[in-house]
């Protein structure tokens, strides 16, 4: 089973981040959501591995949970 790679895979991480930021620039929230949704599907297919995808989903969910707990503590 391949594991989700969370080490940096880009020689230039800033460029990758910027590429995504620029794709969203000037879009409404709804348009951004639409763009992201298509991106998720395209990239998920490129990965092509359900176990890796499952780990990626889990990481994204853990982060959501952590973020909401942090918010509660601050309140």
């Amino acid at each position: 089973m391949t594991e989700l790679s969370t080490k940096t895979n880009f020689a230039d991480p800033d460029a990758a981040y910027q590429l995504i930021v620029e794709a969203h620039r000037g879009l409404s929230d709804a348009e951004s959501a639409d763009l992201d949704t298509a991106l998720v599907l395209i990239l998920a297919n490129h990965i092509g591995d359900l176990d890796v995808l499952r780990e990626a989903v889990a990481l994204a969910q853990r982060r959501m949970l952590a973020a909401s707990q942090q918010q509660q503590q601050q309140q």
Partner: protein
């Protein structure tokens, strides 16, 4: 709305109704519910020499086309039951489906891209035709005692039998049965009587079915639209039935009022928008919502559940009636063997295991289709729309477009199967149903493998790729030998290819035409062990 003639059946008083107390009539099997599943199961049992009492609370075949798509596997079952050719003769044969987004076709699929199968991928046939052909077959067979207007109102379970209380126009009577088979549909009364839960996912979206009679030039294909121009934002389905009847299925959302939507004057304009004309008559209108759910257990003491009484799915994928017919074929031979004392009663546990897995698979597939067709949230809809728009240029997205994944028989991960010990590059693995193949008799006459199976005795069958002397098979095991000096030949090579059948290899088939075991070098001892295991006597 004209149902065909011959749908009304007479109630007849039976002498069993005069018996009471300790004197009540006793039967090995009582099947409750004369729908497609109950009728087919009764025929299967009768053909296996097992007499059956079949009860139905109505005295007519249900109105409306209802289930219309019958799968290749169902047709193969019906062929074995002597009604397959009649069903195909009347039905509309199809194998191509097309999916549209708006006006544009996204992709098409072919459900049976190869030749050499007796039965087509699918036929469409109104359920009332299927039921009336099955009733005709019941009447041809000795051993089925079909009683209309016999409504089961009570059940008492005992250690080795059950007693049914039955309401008739002449009052109540009781019957004793070794086994009761509940084929009494989604609203099963027997399910309530055994106290079983029937929970699952409820879908809020409503769908409008209109079967209309019209002459039209659409091809004989399944057409499914997402967001068609004539029914904005929703889905639509068009499917052809015999007698110039067309099934139209329109998604109308969770908030539509069914009492208003089902009025012909409200349905008519919707269809006129779709068809571009008003030249049609209504045959049947229905509005439905659905649930995906199953009973936890299909065996409750002496009552066995089959078909919609045991599990329900959404209609996308034609997995309702077809899976019920597969339940029946799975149960019939096991029950017949148990009742004849050829197998322990525990063989029935494998029915629950195998058909339970199948129910899970069908529920999973139809839930996925339903989630795609009727997204639950804004983001789910956004995902769906992204798939649909990507599908125009990306193959991966095309493969995600889900307008229903059509019924195929399950592969059983079963305690009845003997694990492969040899290497196989292809062919049905143990637990799979047998693929058909075209063969020839010595006279040159064509015969299909499924037909050879049908005439091979109805029990376990050894399917052998002949190589010199025939393998010594245990008593009672039928045989089909192909190639070499055997009476059947594989001129087209389809059998060899579809079964990876090197000369001398053999498949052991169960009485329902599923593979129990396969051998590159079959021995009598190996075959005996596999038969024992598949009869519930093996378990090591």
């Amino acid at each position: 709305m004209t149902p065909p003639s011959k749908t009304q059946f007479g109630y007849r008083r039976h002498t069993d109704q005069d018996r009471a107390g300790v004197d009540i009539a006793a039967y090995p099997v009582v099947v409750v519910g004369a729908g497609p599943v109950g009728l087919s199961l009764a025929i299967d049992l009768a053909q296996r020499g097992q007499p059956v009492v079949l009860l139905d609370d109505a005295d007519r075949i249900g109105e409306g086309s209802r289930a219309i798509c019958f799968s290749k596997r169902s047709l193969e079952v019906w062929d074995r039951l002597g009604v397959g050719e009649r069903m195909v003769g009347k039905g509309v044969i199809w194998k191509v489906g097309k999916i549209f987004l708006g006006q544009e076709m996204l992709y098409q699929f072919d459900l049976l891209p190869e030749d050499g199968h007796k039965m087509p991928a699918f036929i469409n046939l109104q359920q009332y035709y299927a039921e009336s052909f099955l009733v005709d077959r019941v009447r041809e067979l000795p051993g089925i005692d079909l009683r209309w207007r016999n409504k089961v109102t009570g059940l008492t379970q005992h250690n080795d039998h059950a007693v049914l209380t039955i309401e008739t126009p002449d009052g109540q009577y009781r019957l004793r049965a070794d086994y009761v088979i509940a084929c009494d549909g989604a609203r099963s009364a027997l399910r309530g009587m055994v106290g079983a839960e029937f929970e699952g996912e409820v879908f809020e979206d409503q769908f409008l079915i209109a079967d209309v009679r019209m002459t039209a030039e659409f091809p004989t294909e399944r057409w499914f639209w997402f967001d068609p121009p004539f029914h904005s934002g929703q889905s639509a389905l068009l499917h052809r039935q015999p007698d110039d009847v067309w099934r139209i299925d329109l998604q109308i959302g969770p908030d539509a009022d069914p009492a208003i939507e089902r009025l012909p004057e409200n349905v008519r304009p919707r269809l006129e928008r779709m068809l571009g004309h008003g030249d049609f008559e209504f045959e049947w209108i229905s509005i439905y919502k659905f649930q995906c759910r199953r009973m936890q257990r299909f065996l409750h003491g002496r009552v066995v559940f089959a078909g919609d009484s045991a599990h329900q799915v959404s209609p996308f994928g034609a997995r309702g009636a077809n899976s019920g017919l597969e339940d029946g074929e799975n149960l019939a031979w096991k029950l017949a063997m148990v009742l004849r004392g050829q197998a322990p009663a525990s063989l029935l546990a494998s029915y629950e295991i195998e058909r339970g897995h199948a129910a899970d698979e069908n529920i999973r597939a139809s839930t996925r289709s339903t989630d795609f067709i009727a997204p639950h949230s804004r983001q789910e809809r956004r995902l769906r729309q992204a798939v649909l728009s990507l599908a125009k240029e990306a193959d991966f997205a095309k493969r995600m477009v889900n307008g229903g994944r059509l019924s195929v028989p399950s592969v059983y991960d079963s305690p009845l199967s003997s694990v492969d010990v040899d290497a196989w590059a292809a062919g049905p693995r143990p637990g799979s149903s047998i693929p058909d193949a075209p063969l020839q008799r010595a006279s040159g006459e064509a015969i299909y493998l499924t037909e050879a199976f049908r005439s091979a005795g109805g029990g376990f069958v050894l399917l052998e790729s002949a190589n010199g002397a025939a393998v010594e098979a245990p008593e009672g095991v039928g045989r089909i030998r192909i190639g070499g000096d055997a009476p059947l030949q594989d001129a087209a090579g389809s059998f060899a290819a579809r079964y990876d059948a090197s000369p001398g290899s053999a498949y052991l088939l169960r009485p329902d035409g599923y593979v129990a075991a396969r051998f590159r070098h079959p021995t009598r001892a190996g075959i005996e062990a596999a038969v024992a295991r598949a009869s519930g006597r093996g378990g090591q």
